[in-house]
């Protein structure tokens, strides 16, 4: 039982990261018909942003010898959003804008851009993976606030997870990531439903010609939307530094699953993406665990293959995905 609780938690954790990544892909494909293979590199940009922040700004942003309040980390998440977003806007304005209506060309072109960005990262930061530290409230929990920092024994007794029941340990980092994703999704809902920019975006998605006829500047809608999607991937990259090393190919490993989320969820629907991310995240983890119990070799890989096959089968039945957009 405990084992399955842990798996469910890990599944939800993977799902939350996949969701953050796939939102940008879904926007780009739903609004502009762009298949963005460089999306993984926005993740990478976000992760390196956090790395650079730790190197350069942790001193001035709430970190001392004994205390790390993590101001640099929060700051780096915000910076990751804007830096990745700007790179996204730049990509849209200089390249993608010329390729609308040719999805296959966008696939090839963005793939090339992705490789260029990876090479640049390799030149600047080296091919070696780097790692990023954690704020104290993630490595020790909030208990460090009332623990004497000079008492080495007491500090080292603080664990980086929350043990809800005996044997079920939930790492603070993963809880934090889930919290960030929930917050981002809520903000995104607000942006889409309550702001005029969000209204323009939805109108353009539903009927581009009509939106243009009403005076919507669809070029800037495209650029901003693409930028927001890239920025979300940047945030994903930033939080991914908490659970693994940072390297030039960081984004690549997530991008395939993120595409699966987009096609399974149905293009252009936030609810579909949320549901699909949960399903794929859960399935991946639970299936892998199940296969390990059955003594299957390379269980994680086999699980991925099975998830892929299931999605393909599902799309045969419902080609439009989980949440369908009806058009008249």
């Amino acid at each position: 039982m405990d084992i399955w609780l842990i798996q469910a938690f890990n599944g939800a954790s993977l799902a939350s990261i996949l969701l953050l990544i796939s939102l940008g892909l879904a926007f780009a494909f739903g609004l502009m018909g762009v298949i963005n293979m460089a999306h993984g590199e926005f993740i990478m940009i976000g992760a390196y942003t956090t790395y650079v922040f730790e190197l350069q700004f942790s001193g001035i942003l709430m970190r001392t010898e004994t205390h790390d309040w993590g101001g640099w980390f929060i700051g780096s998440m915000i910076a990751a959003f804007f830096i990745a977003g700007l790179v996204g806007i730049l990509l849209e304005v200089t390249l993608l804008r010329r390729l609308y209506g040719r999805p296959l060309d966008t696939l090839l072109a963005t793939w090339g851009v992705g490789m260029i960005l990876q090479s640049v990262a390799r030149q600047v930061f080296g091919a070696q993976n780097v790692s990023v530290g954690r704020p104290m409230w993630l490595s020790k929990g909030f208990a460090w606030l009332w623990t004497d920092v000079n008492d080495a024994e007491a500090i080292s007794a603080l664990k980086p997870f929350w043990e809800i029941i005996e044997g079920v340990r939930l790492p603070y980092t993963r809880l934090f990531i889930m919290g960030v994703v929930v917050l981002v999704v809520l903000l995104l809902f607000y942006y889409l439903r309550r702001t005029s920019a969000g209204r323009r975006l939805r109108a353009t998605m539903q009927n581009r010609e009509m939106a243009a006829s009403l005076g919507v500047r669809s070029r800037s809608v495209n650029a901003i939307t693409f930028g927001v999607g890239a920025g979300l991937a940047g945030i994903a990259g930033s939080v991914l530094t908490l659970i693994g090393p940072v390297g030039p190919t960081l984004g690549t490993s997530y991008i395939v699953d993120a595409f699966l989320v987009v096609v399974l969820g149905g293009v252009g629907k936030l609810r579909g993406a949320i549901l699909a991310a949960l399903i794929i995240g859960m399935f991946n983890i639970v299936m892998a665990k199940f296969l390990i119990d059955l003594d299957v070799e390379a269980a994680a890989t086999v699980a991925k293959v099975l998830v892929l096959l299931l999605v393909v089968a599902f799309l045969q039945w419902k080609p439009q995905g989980l949440v369908q957009v009806q058009t008249r």
Binding site: S196, R200, Q206, E209, M210, A211, A212, L214, G215, R328
Partner: protein
Amino acid sequence: MLQAKNLEVYYGQSKILRDVSLVVPPGEVVCLMGRNGAGKTTFMKSVMGLVKARKGEFILGDTSLNRKTTGQRSRLGISYVPQGRGIFPYLTVYENLLMGFESCSPPRPDLAIVAEMYERFPVLEQMRHRVAGTLSGGQQQQLALARALVSRPQLLLLDEPTEGIQPSIVMEIEELIVQLSREMNISVLVVEQFLDFARAVADHFYILETGKIVEHGEIDIFTDDLAKKYLSV
């Protein structure tokens, strides 16, 4: 108000509009008629810039529209209600109305104008929080008209406003168009196949046949013979 001069439009190699010239005088209603496939909708789209003309010119007031984008044309005071109404199906009725302000500068919603539209189309107020895709055809048409009017256009383009709509609402739309031109001095270009409607609202008519204007004039000279010759199927 609007002048089209020697317009030629192609889809790929095939010529859809041949040397079309047309005038919509200020504050008057012009009806564009013709059989299916004659090029009426293409003409409307080319006014909006959704279809590019290969030759010829559009002039609005004294501004040439040729180098203007679709958005700029709408900001110059042209509102377009396309065939099939073009409402945003997943936006609410209220949000659809707000989209009408996009062509104003600055594009800020004016709630007094929204209230005025609710007064004119009470059904929209009742339905204001409903998703527009769930409205009936007639309600959607009223929504599309209201959305086109909130920006206070100089020129209104209506593509088959009576298509698939119950007679009582057709009557309302008829009255509305007459009122718009008489009282608010809005010029209207309307594509219509329904003769009684055209006769009731229009001051002038043009008939398109396979991309060419074959007859035009005051609506008084639009006889049943002409209708039989060019419009009967």
